[in-house]
């Protein structure tokens, strides 16, 4: 998990800050944005592998509880809705950033981070509840693959929150307003990706019966 | 050019053939049954075509090297290619492969055919030996299940279905003369059809890497005429005859009960009080199984077919027998004169020294102390003497 975290941080928080404005590029996309798109393409395969594993093993509960016995769909629906709303606030943040409006950018980025944190908090609560109902990490193939898939996603959200918080800090040090618009946009790309992945996970895990 | 080609192909083919071993027991080009024959019929032309193309390319490159070497000629025209030629040379291999593909498709499905199966044997792999379990099939005289190991015995001209699985890691069952290989995967049953045309003994090897003694996990398939097979079945179903009182073998039986019967089953063996002695290998071995030793001396090998039970000259006698006399020789089993004393005694003295296995207590923490393979038993020489005498009675 640390590895993925390092990867994100390295790629997203790092190279954006050349501080010298736009370069000409052959595609017209900036290096940073193109790099982010490529990275997200790679992430699709990562989640593809994890989702496939889960789909293969979701019925293999052994002595442990079945999915339908532990899932609390109304609760998870609410936290999914929260995460979905954070994509909206992220859009508002990016739009403010492009206008050079650092105050509003800060505001929307902070709200996005808070919504994300709410989702992660919900996930922690959910994991605790499942654990108390006798579904530990090693209980069954279903439980292991469930925790690995949703856990990986949770780590991605957490990394996103760290990036959002960092950009707020970095923007406060920045002298010229609007200079971090591209960074905000890149974090936005990442954030939307993580949201979309959750929609897929939520549908496959919680809504489609095993 | 064409002559060069013919000569080239002919020369390389004969070179390759001359450079090969004769009578390699696991040769993949010596089919001895219809399944292996189907594969052979498919692969021979493919090898030939591949060989011809290889020679053409090599000759073309060598010719170009010779013809176009720098002899001070001017810088050539800067051509970027000839699309028509390119397309032609793309289509030709595509066509060849299409033909190969069609035949491949057909053979794959022909080989997968199972509806006309005549006999079923369950084959189970574990580190590092194979167990064969013949379910009741009255038409072959198998009125009770037969469990054996090391050598698979089948009747000739009979379509035998091997139902393969494993008790630990993945193994792969391969008797090249009879069919291609098929993995034995724990938790799954894979079907593998074999059939032998002639009586004889066919060698094989586990071909999926399965840990420490993968190299020592061998197998032999023994094909007997239908009459001989019936005799073999009858032999396997013979009730247990305890050794006569006051013989060395009788003392050996006692040692066996003390030292071996915890894991190794001998069907029909009873305690003094008349209760049956049932082995419980699952208490000591990770895979939960150890070879069933009933009628051990009807087999020619032991320890996962790593060692011969027959000494060198008797083994040669059986392996070199023609198909007429083979059955009779095989059914003789292992007599005292023919016994490979040194390997069998060495095995009883210290098995892990003769075959790498996981029996070191330091390595067993992850298995709760269970072995993978046969441990060192600390038998005395006199115990070994007695045991050998006893094992010789297990005909």
């Amino acid at each position: 998990m640390w590895f993925t975290l390092a990867e994100h941080a390295v790629i997203t928080a790092g190279e954006h800050d050349t501080g010298h404005g736009d370069h000409h590029t052959s595609t017209g996309l900036s290096n940073n944005k193109l790099g982010m798109w490529l990275f997200l393409g790679s992430e699709c395969l990562l989640f593809g592998g994890l989702i496939s594993t889960y789909m293969l093993y979701r019925g293999r509960v052994g002595e442990g509880p079945r999915p339908s016995q532990v899932f609390d769909i109304p609760f998870t629906s609410v936290s999914s809705f929260v995460l979905l709303m954070s994509s909206l606030t992220m859009v508002l943040a990016v739009s403010a950033a492009h206008k050079g409006d650092d105050r509003n950018t800060n505001l929307w980025v902070t709200i996005t981070a808070l919504l994300g944190a709410t989702f992660v908090g919900g996930q922690v609560y959910e994991f605790t509840a499942f654990y108390n109902e006798g579904m530990g990490f090693t209980t069954s193939l279903f439980s292991s693959s469930f925790y690995v898939l949703t856990g990986f996603h949770g780590v991605h959200v957490t990394v996103g929150i760290i990036m959002l918080m960092s950009i707020v800090g970095i923007m406060k040090r920045s002298k010229t307003p609007g200079s971090k618009a591209e960074t905000v946009e890149m974090i936005g790309l990442y954030w939307h990706f993580v949201d979309v992945v959750w929609i897929i996970i939520f549908t496959l895990i919680y809504l489609v019966p095993a | 050019m064409r002559r060069m080609l013919t000569v080239g192909v002919g020369l390389s083919t004969s070179l390759v053939l001359a450079g090969c071993a004769t009578n390699a027991p696991q040769d993949t080009f010596q089919p001895k049954g219809p399944n292996a024959q189907m594969i052979d019929d498919l692969q021979k032309p493919v090898f030939a075509v591949a060989g011809i193309i290889g020679v053409i390319v090599t000759v073309a490159v060598l010719y170009a090297i010779y013809k176009f070497r720098d002899r001070g000629q001017p810088i050539p025209e800067q051509t970027h290619g000839k699309p028509a030629l390119e397309i032609t040379l793309t289509i030709i291999p595509a066509l060849i492969l299409t033909v190969v593909g069609v035949f491949t498709f057909r053979t794959v499905f022909d080989l997968a055919k199972t509806s006309d199966t005549e006999m079923i044997i369950n084959v189970t792999g574990q580190q590092w030996w194979w167990e064969y379990d013949y379910p009741v099939q009255n038409e072959y005289g198998i009125t009770q299940p037969i469990i054996t190991s090391g050598q698979l015995v089948i009747p000739v001209g009979t379509k035998v279905m091997l139902r393969q699985t494993s008790r630990d890691v993945i193994h792969s069952y391969w008797i090249p003369a009879l069919n291609g290989k098929r993995d034995a995967v724990p938790g799954r049953v894979h079907l593998n059809r074999i059939e032998a045309d002639e009586p004889g003994i066919y060698a094989g090897q586990c071909t999926e890497f399965c840990g420490l003694s993968h190299a020592n996990m061998r197998m032999e398939a023994v094909a007997l005429s239908k009459a001989d097979f019936a005799k073999w079945v009858a032999g396997q179903l013979k009730p247990y005859t305890p050794p006569a009182e006051n013989t060395l073998a009788k003392e050996g039986e006692a040692v066996f009960v003390n030292q071996c019967a915890r894991c190794h089953q001998v069907n029909g063996m009873k305690r003094a009080d008349g209760t049956a002695i049932i082995a419980a290998p699952d208490e000591s071995v990770v895979s939960g199984a150890a070879p069933n030793l009933s009628h051990l001396m009807s087999r020619n090998t032991f320890a996962g077919a790593m060692f011969d039970l027959l000494n060198t000259s008797c083994r040669k006698d059986v392996w070199d027998a023609d198909s007429e006399s083979f059955g009779a020789k095989y059914l003789q089993g292992v007599s005292e004169d023919c016994l490979n004393q040194s390997d069998l005694r060495g095995w009883l003295r210290n098995a892990p020294e003769m075959k790498p296995m996981y029996v070191n207590p330091e390595l067993l923490s992850s298995t709760g102390g269970k072995y993978r393979g046969m441990p060192y038993l600390g038998l005395t020489e006199s115990d070994i003497e007695k045991l050998v005498a006893y094992l010789l009675t297990l005909k």
């Binding site: 790679s42 | 493919v46 492969l97 391969w174 090249p176 995967v185 003694s213």
Partner: protein, 657 residues
């Protein structure tokens, strides 16, 4: 560091102390000594470091191979015991695939892609540095297992359940799994970096179809890595969680399916095969035209067949599993798909041969290795076609026939291509020519050694000797003088000749470094952009970025058609270079060195170490990584203009990266 380049007159790079400390540490500023290497972000230095490290691992993997052949030289060999043998073949493959061929190709890519596309560095120089260090530390980490209770012993394919804690109780597989995660991060970051570089940083006029073919093949490779690495990442995570945290992903008793590992592994593993071979295809597609004095025959066909291999390579993974019991439908489909991939591969062989055809061939060592590749790879490719035929593969798979096949493809293909590249590009990188005479010995001993080693393995395999066996027995060796025993011994002797061949290369390096011939500007009469700069190139690669109007731009600047349609030289390489120098950019600010890449990379093995032995160590590693990321995030990639000495006005500075 701050560097000012004022080409062409001044070559002096002036370091300056950063005026302010951004982040936790001030920037490194050394331009000489070990610090200038350890903290560098220069793609050329990193390329050299990648290649040097890979060469070291090549020697390690080679020694492992020699031990394997010594063990198998005679029946019932006693050189290695079963346990050590299993570790040896596992680590031989792992080392050669992940620690030699991949990073060697990455080294060449790093060094030459920016030069070939007319860029001054890669898109993300610090990520580039991080990638190298992650690869180095990952490689060391995997090999640490030799000294900590034994290396991984499950084969490089690491099939479950044999890789589980019950069946492999040492920590070898833990080191292997986590070490490969670390090198995987290196590959992934490298892929993002190089794809962005190629797509975004080409010189004006260099359309995709004017790109040098080496860059093209590397682009395909990087896309394969981008999508293949995450798949193996998932598999390795599952295995780690099973071995270290008690999950049961591959434990059959808990209901797991062992084939899950095989699918995940080979979905990665088959594209991996093309990741290994395509860079070498790229190299020889550069070398053959140069020494044939004519363009690559059918450039677009080579490009598209490369891309086609890249695509179809995703649909053939199950041909590694024909004996796994997939069922006839899957087997038939994957069998035919595998045959399909032979077509674009065949196209390449045709194009190379046709490039030679009608040329004016000069047999330098680089050319010899390139031609060697055509023939040897063709043999490997054709044996590949024989086992795309699934039924016949069930006879051949897991025998020495397969070992022969992939060594012809990977040694005769990938490694010969890399060696061709060494001889071709050595003067570019080091300014000195490798000794051609010694190189010829190097080539012929490698050809003979490789054919003696791997050629007989065709026979061994077809006559029934399985792979991965620590001993073979005379009972199964057959009769006659040329029995399997003979060929085993023969192959072992061949491996020693091969070793001498490779040793000659190392000797050649030493001799060349001591008193090699200084390379002229254009020693090979080359065709592509990387030769349109000094040997070795300046830190900023090009004084001015050339505008490209041809495939083979450099050639077309030197040669033009005369009235009779005959190619004649109109300019020397020196004159071409002079034109670029005359238009030199005044001030070029290169990306500045940084501590952070190596610091972050250093945290990774610490985390991994903790996962095996004790979680608190992991937390220390995590803190190192976070510290590094923090420093990285607030440090600009190129130092601010006022850190440079003497100060320059922003107006006339060209910023790179």
């Amino acid at each position: 560091m701050a560097i000012i380049e004022r080409p062409p007159s001044t070559e002096v790079a002036t370091p300056a102390t950063p005026s302010s400390s951004l982040g936790a540490l001030k920037r490194p500023v050394s331009t000489t000594g070990w610090k200038s290497w350890v903290f560098t972000v220069d793609h050329k230095k990193l390329g050299i470091m990648y290649s040097a490290t890979a060469l070291f691992f090549f020697i390690v993997g080679g020694l492992e191979a020699v031990l394997i052949r010594l063990q198998l030289a005679a029946p019932n060999g006693k050189v290695l015991n079963a346990d050590l043998y299993n570790q040896m073949f596992t680590m031989h493959a792992t080392t050669m695939v992940f620690l030699f061929v991949m990073p060697m190709a990455a080294g060449l890519a790093n060094y030459f892609i920016p030069l070939q596309i007319g860029a001054r560095d890669v898109a993300f120089p610090r990520i580039n540095a991080f990638g190298f260090w992650a690869f180095l530390f990952g490689g060391i980490f995997i090999n640490l297992s030799w000294f900590m209770g034994g290396a991984a012993d499950g084969g490089w394919f690491m099939y479950a359940p044999n890789s589980g804690p019950v069946f492999s109780p040492s920590h070898g597989i833990d080191f292997w799994t986590l070490g490969l995660q670390i090198t995987g991060i290196a590959s992934l970051t490298g892929a993002v970096n190089l794809i962005t570089t190629v797509l975004n940083m080409r010189a004006p006029g260099m359309k995709l179809m004017r790109m040098p073919i080496f860059t093209w093949m590397q682009l395909v490779v990087q896309f394969l890595l981008l999508f293949a690495v995450p798949v193996i990442t998932v598999a390795l995570f599952l295995l780690s969680f099973q071995r270290n945290f008690g999950a049961t992903f591959f434990d059959v008793a808990s209901g797991a399916d062992p084939l899950l590992w095989q699918h995940l592994f080979w979905i990665f593993g088959h594209p991996e095969v093309y990741i290994l071979i395509l860079p070498s295809f790229g190299v020889i597609s550069e070398v053959l035209p140069v020494f044939s004095r004519k363009p690559l025959f059918g450039y677009p066909f080579v490009v598209f067949s490369g891309a086609a291999i890249g695509f179809v390579g995703w649909g053939v993974w199950a041909h590694h599993m024909f004996a796994s019991g997939l069922g006839p439908v899957s087997v038939a489909v994957f069998s035919v798909a595998t045959m399909a991939i032979a077509v674009p591969t065949g196209v390449k062989v045709v194009n190379w041969t046709m490039t030679l055809w009608g040329g004016k061939l000069e047999f330098t060592v680089a050319m010899k290795f390139a031609i060697g590749l055509i023939v040897l790879f063709t043999i490997g490719g054709l044996s590949g076609v024989t086992h795309s035929v699934a039924p016949s593969d069930t006879q051949q798979t897991d025998t020495y026939y397969i070992v022969a096949h992939f060594h012809y493809v990977l040694f005769g293909g990938a490694i010969f291509g890399l060696f061709s590249g060494f001889y071709y590009w050595w003067p570019k990188v080091f300014g000195k020519l490798l000794n051609e005479k010694l190189g010829t010995w190097n080539f012929w001993l490698m050809v003979i050694g490789m054919n003696m080693t791997f050629g007989p393995m065709h026979i061994l395999g077809l006559q029934g000797q399985p792979r991965r066996m620590y001993v073979w027995t005379e009972q199964r060796a057959g009769e006659g003088f040329f029995n399997l025993g003979f060929w085993n011994t023969f192959a072992s002797i061949g491996s020693l000749i091969l070793t001498v061949g490779v040793l000659l290369f190392l000797i050649n390096i030493v001799i060349t470094a001591r008193n090699g011939k200084i390379a002229p500007l254009d020693p090979w009469n080359a065709r592509s952009l990387e030769w349109m700069t000094s040997n070795p190139p300046k830190e900023h690669n090009f004084d001015s970025i050339p505008t490209v109007s041809h495939l083979d731009e450099f050639f077309h600047r030197k040669y033009q058609e005369d009235a009779n349609g005959q190619m004649v030289q109109v300019k020397t390489a020196e004159q071409v270079l002079k034109e670029l120098e005359d238009n030199a950019d005044a001030h070029i600010h290169m990306p500045s060195p940084s501590y952070w890449p190596i610091i972050i990379a250093l945290g990774l093995p610490v985390i991994a170490f903790g996962m095996i032995y004790s979680i608190p160590i992991s937390i220390v590693g995590g803190v190192i990584v976070l510290f590094g990321v923090y420093g990285w995030a607030i440090e600009p990639s190129t130092a601010p203009d006022d850190d440079f000495d003497p100060p320059t006005t922003t107006k006339d500075v060209v910023h790179v990266g």
